[in-house]
């Protein structure tokens, strides 16, 4: 059964190569996308933290997205 699954009547190398290439590409792409997102989130939070408390208050009041990024980032760390 396992042998049949691996060899696939001589087509195993082609089938497995296709599946491995596809899912490897998807995995690497997911990892890179997630890494970029986290990098931007981190940089954005860092820039907010660098603002004076008055500026920070204005930013968070005027931008719902900024406060959402801040809260979601705090949840993940």
């Amino acid at each position: 059964m396992i042998n049949n699954l691996i060899l696939m009547n001589g087509y195993g190398i082609f089938v497995w190569a296709s599946f491995i290439i596809t899912f490897l590409a998807c995995g690497i792409f997911y990892y890179k996308t997630r890494k970029t997102l986290k990098k931007y989130e981190k940089e954005f939070i860092k820039e907010i933290e660098e603002l004076s408390s008055k500026e920070k208050k204005i930013v968070l009041e005027n931008s719902k997205i900024a406060s959402k990024i801040l809260s979601s980032y705090n949840k993940t760390i």
């Binding site: 699954l5 696939m8 009547n9 001589g10 087509y11 195993g12 082609f14 089938v15 190569a17 296709s18 599946f19 290439i21 596809t22 590409a25 998807c26 792409f29 997911y30 996308t33 997630r34 970029t36 997102l37 931007y40 989130e41 940089e43 954005f44 820039e47 907010i48 603002l51 204005i58 930013v59 005027n62 931008s63 719902k64 997205i65 900024a66 959402k68 990024i69 979601s72």
Partner: protein
């Protein structure tokens, strides 16, 4: 109702959707892989090599669908100056490029046991390579041109020109004598694929669509953060 379309509302929905897709994705992937590699029958002519179809065909569909979507959104964005559409096209393009490349590579691997060669300058394969080139130019223009208005204009033009290639890819197997087989699944008319193969194929397609949605949401969120970061001082 229109409140939904505010960026801040979209942003919170993105979070919820990412979590939802993450929660169901691996179960569906496992089911799709089991059907594709174990439960679906081998083809009477191609044998087990037909299983490559379960990754090749959904990848090609996504490659074609993504570019069609990019082209229409680019044209609308160019006419109506909707910035959100530009963000969407920028987020979709890398996904489309990746799946187009996957379709070309897996198709090439499938070609060896079926046609006896990894590569032939066949009409379908060549037009898919041209599609990949359009994706590369589209992404490069958005990355390399710093002036966003100019980049949007040029990339919209590229997408509109590239749209001509989509029906060429679709009908290449009918217009020219090609090595590539004609479509087995038809939206109008009778499909020639057996349900025992169609079901795993559609399941795998659904899993790929979920993956695309996940990547798109993460890329779209990155674009929103990038813009917010740029405009931080203005707030």
């Amino acid at each position: 109702m229109f409140n939904f379309f505010y960026n801040s509302n979209i942003f919170s929905w993105i979070e919820k959707l990412i979590n939802f897709i993450n929660s169901i994705f691996f179960v569906l992937l496992l089911a799709a892989l089991s059907f594709a590699l174990i439960f679906s029958p081998p083809d009477y002519l191609q044998g087990d090599s037909v299983r490559i179809m379960y990754v090749h065909v959904p990848s090609a569909w996504i490659g074609l669908g993504s570019f069609t979507c990019i082209a229409f959104l680019s044209i609308l964005s160019f006419i109506f100056k909707i910035k959100n559409f530009t963000l969407i096209t920028k987020s979709i393009a890398p996904i489309g490029l990746m799946f187009t490349c996957v379709a070309i590579v897996t198709g090439s691997i499938w070609g060896q046991p079926t046609w006896g060669t990894f590569w032939a300058w066949d009409a379908r394969i060549t037009s898919m390579v041209i599609l990949a080139l359009f994706y590369i130019i589209f992404i490069a223009v958005n990355k390399l041109i710093n002036d966003e208005t100019k980049a949007t204009k040029i990339s919209s033009l590229i997408a509109a020109v590239g749209l001509i290639n989509i029906p060429i890819i679709k009908y290449s197997v009918e217009w020219w004598s090609t090595l590539h087989q004609p479509a087995s699944i038809k939206l109008s008319g009778t499909s020639t694929i057996h349900p025992s193969m169609l079901m795993p194929l559609l399941l795998m397609f659904f899993v790929f669509i979920l993956y695309c949605a996940l990547i798109f949401l993460m890329k779209y969120k990155t674009e929103i953060i990038r813009i917010k970061k740029k405009n931080l001082k203005r707030l």
